[in-house]
Symmetry: C2
Subunit: 212 residues, 2 copies
């Protein structure tokens, strides 16, 4: 997998080579003539992510890991609790915390992991900001990832990241925004729209959370 | 109890006469020379309130009743679930819904009730807006009273008023705002500040909710 080092999202900034026979010509230009990383493809069973935070005082807090499902390279659903064993969740928390501390980071970060067949985790990507896979925190935690970020950078105590409910977040991509009337009438559902005027294919128009 | 008909809040706009010997002179002027209501004092055991909504289409929805405790005539705490039997809660819901329908009301309303010793309810006051005793909905329901109001007046379906957690809301009045650092560090607590520059006695500076 040939990837840009920065600013990749929604499957953009990647080029996959399945074998040595695949023709690499044009890849550098197609990816924008920027520095690239060539990685072996990871045979993962699922993807999870952790929304973590580090405050000005060095305190850290992790929200629960979420199961992420992608469609066409774009995040489609994030669900908590994730279907991983406790040691896997704990390994992901440890890795997210280690990244925060190694970077001397202040604020909220999203860390995506591949979960391998043996339950171990491999960091796939980090997002130095609030993250789409953490939108469930707004519905299922006392303090959301957004308030957590403000607390972190403002030097306030980090909020309690515990989760009061099970929850599934689903993105509304392109024409899926037409589901809005049904979603507004559905029990346990909270909808967020991003105010984008036009629904184009692959465009994130909003998301909804459903308490489970 | 001599009360103004409108715009009373936080114990303002009231004058209590315990007996016929109490001197009523000056009461009319003290209450602002506006139309007044003279009511018998109700021997209530507790106060509850219902945040209800009616949409443009006539649909209605009630959040769960909350137990309200006042201090110095000002709301201090609202707690859900309220400590009332199911028939009392149901009577309050029915009364709130009847008020919405009789007024042809659209939007969110707060209805306060006295609960008598026999479990019956008497409407004390209505607030034709979102209400302080409904701030818990933001922490403990999928759709808050604020979103519910927007849905109602915008002609969207009313949101599911069900409650995912038990919750206590407490107002921060005057100097109590000094508790802010402790509240920010407490688990299960969400704090709202109103951005008022000066903490005066009896002034509502903010509130916090605690999931129970």
């Amino acid at each position: 997998m040939l990837k840009t080092r920065r600013l990749g999202y929604d499957g953009k900034g990647q080029r996959l080579f399945r074998s040595a026979a695949d023709d690499p010509s044009g890849a550098f230009a197609a990816l924008g003539n920027v520095p690239l990383i060539l990685e072996s493809l990871v045979p993962f069973e699922r993807e999870i992510s952790i929304i973590a935070a580090r405050g000005l005082d060095g305190a850290t807090a992790c929200f629960d890991p979420a199961d992420n499902v992608h469609r066409n390279g774009i995040l489609y659903t994030s669900t908590v609790p994730a279907s991983v064993a406790a040691p896997t969740a704990e390994a992901a928390r440890r890795a997210a915390t280690a990244i925060l501390e190694a970077l001397g980071y202040v604020g909220v970060i999203g860390v995506e992991f591949f979960v391998l067949a043996d339950g171990s985790v491999v960091v796939n990507e980090i997002a130095p900001r609030v993250h789409n896979s953490g939108h469930w925190t707004e519905a299922a935690c006392v303090v959301s990832q957004f308030e957590q970020h403000v607390r972190a950078i403002a030097g306030l105590p980090l909020g309690d990241p515990s989760r009061h409910s099970d929850c599934a977040m689903q993105n509304l991509i392109g024409d899926e925004i037409a589901e809005l009337p049904n979603l507004l009438a559905a029990p346990n559902v909270l909808v967020h729209l991003y105010g984008k005027a036009e629904a184009r294919p692959g465009r994130k128009m909003g998301h909804f959370t459903r308490l489970l």
